[in-house]
């Protein structure tokens, strides 16, 4: 019995250390966001919040168009998420409930596109977007993310499990067109799957960097990731300002996560394990 107690105590110690290491960078980021750069050079290091919260954020606003970049990111993420949900549920419906020549071949082809590393097409994609005049536009920043093979896979799984063939047949006998079946029957049923896929797509798009770093050169068009990274390109960067920017850009997502953390976590297992 004593042995079990010691074991359990050690388990708790281990979990507390792990949680501390997970959370510490967030706390430290907050501390730095409230301190002047001088605090950074103090020995021992400052570990408590200071009074520069507002000043540091004002410096951020002078350095980058913070709110514009957040808005740009929000627009990019929302549009990408909606487009992916629409494309995926339509295609998932077709693959789950219709018979047509080439169905299996086309489905496997979609899954195979997942294997292509996104960097393979990077250079031609850049010139393609330039050709259409979409450099430094939000449409250019989002267009390559409309392709989401995982979304089609997930929606096919979900629709074939939760929309019964009888329901589709009955609606057809009542004279429903296929598109009305999709809108009035399939869409309401797949809303939970939309939440899962929506979270996966939204968070992935939020954190995207390489593509936007490549096509966005005008600071007014920056997404928040590009804007934040642009603060770090001078050698004598003000750490208080830098981490203030990171802090305010991170906090909205942390709040959303804390509200829906179970949904977030289940979206990971559904997106990868199923």
């Amino acid at each position: 019995m004593k042995k079990i107690k010691v074991g359990r105590f050690l388990v708790y110690v281990f979990m507390i250390i792990a949680s501390f290491l997970s959370l510490f960078p967030f706390y430290w980021m907050f501390v730095m966001a409230t301190r002047s750069s001088a605090a950074y050079n103090s020995i021992p290091p400052t570990m408590t919040p200071g009074t520069q919260l507002v000043e540091n954020f004002q410096k951020v606003l002078n350095e980058i168009p913070f709110f514009g970049a957040m808005l740009n990111t929000l627009i990019v993420c929302l549009v990408v998420t909606l487009v992916v949900l629409l494309i995926s549920s339509l295609a998932g419906f077709a693959f789950a409930k219709f018979k047509f020549p080439g169905k299996n071949f086309l489905f496997v082809a979609i899954l195979l596109t997942m294997v292509i590393p996104p960097q393979l097409g990077l250079i031609p994609q850049y010139f393609l977007v330039a050709e259409f005049g979409l450099l430094d536009t939000l449409l250019g920043a989002m267009v390559i993310f409309f392709l989401n093979p995982l979304g089609i896979f997930l929606m096919r799984q979900y629709i074939s499990q939760s929309v019964s063939d009888e329901l589709v047949e009955a609606a057809k006998l009542d004279g429903c067109s296929n598109f009305r079946i999709f809108c009035n029957i399939v869409l309401p049923i797949v809303l939970p799957a939309f939440a899962t896929l929506g979270i996966i797509v939204f968070t992935a798009t939020w954190g995207e960097f390489l593509w936007q770093f490549t096509v966005l050169r005008d600071p007014d068009m920056y997404t928040i990731q590009v804007a934040l990274s642009s603060m770090n390109t001078t050698s004598n960067v003000d750490f208080g300002m830098l981490l203030s920017g990171v802090f305010w850009a991170t906090i909205p997502l942390v709040i959303v996560f804390l509200m829906f953390n179970k949904l977030f976590i289940s979206s990971i297992t559904e997106g990868s394990v199923k």
Binding site: Y40, I43, K99, S229, N232, T269
Partner: protein, 309 residues
Amino acid sequence: MGFKRGRKYRSEETKDKISAYLYISPFFIIFAIIGLYPAVFSIFLAFQDWNGLGEMEFVGLQNFSVVLQDPVFWKSLYNTIIMGIMGTAPQIIVGIILAFILNQAFLKFRNAFRAMIFLPYITSMVAVALVFGVFFSNNDTALANYTLQLFGMDSVNWKTSEWGAKIAISIMVFWRWIGYNTIIYLAGLQSIPRTFYEAARIDGANVFQQLRYITIPLLKPFIILTVFFSTVGALQLFTEPTVFLGSSAFSRTEAMTVVMYLYRDAFTLQSFGTGSATAVILLAIIVIASVVNTYLTSGVKKRKKGRRI
């Protein structure tokens, strides 16, 4: 009547086919333009000499030989592999331990622990690289160096030394992804029936024997999945080193990765031919790594089966 109904039925079938093709067409149209065409064009471009403005000139395999003879390319491949291993391999072990603990019935505050360990995953790679960039800055007063000094060690030039940069980047990759892998292992553990453990306990197996003979074997498909994701992800490493190194990202080689090498060739040196050749080489490396992965994991299965028979 019968004839009429038959015809109607057939036209219904045709309608369904048309609907189905219509519904899958958005993906394929977008894929053709922004996925397939660029991929094919990249392969074409790999055989051309092009600065992005003038005429293209066919140069055969010259781009490939330029890249493959460039020591910086090999350095970046080496860096990518080393940081990939250092950043992802420890995640397997730590992730399994964390998931094993999170799956214990006696653990209180389980959801809180799970949420805390998962939280780093929702921060963006740029944010992680910037925070750790300050943590691992070159100054003696940087938190990482201060901690080293507390333990009587020397300061490290995290951004400019060969191993300093790699270790710092591996740590940030580990920190951000450990929660993701833990959640996948946890899903795997929850799929193992509790009765297996009860039976093992009755037979007198201790915790480590349970781990060794029940958990690890049944968790194997999930481990294979995360190894596959980690391998492909690690070979594409770009954001963390680029943002971490900031202004010196493309001028130093301590932490340059293959994708950074590709980006530098194309977008800072305007050598789109060699950039595309690098992209094709990267594709080949990823395909080879995936095949080796699949071969190793299926080979393990076969060997085990053979032994059992």
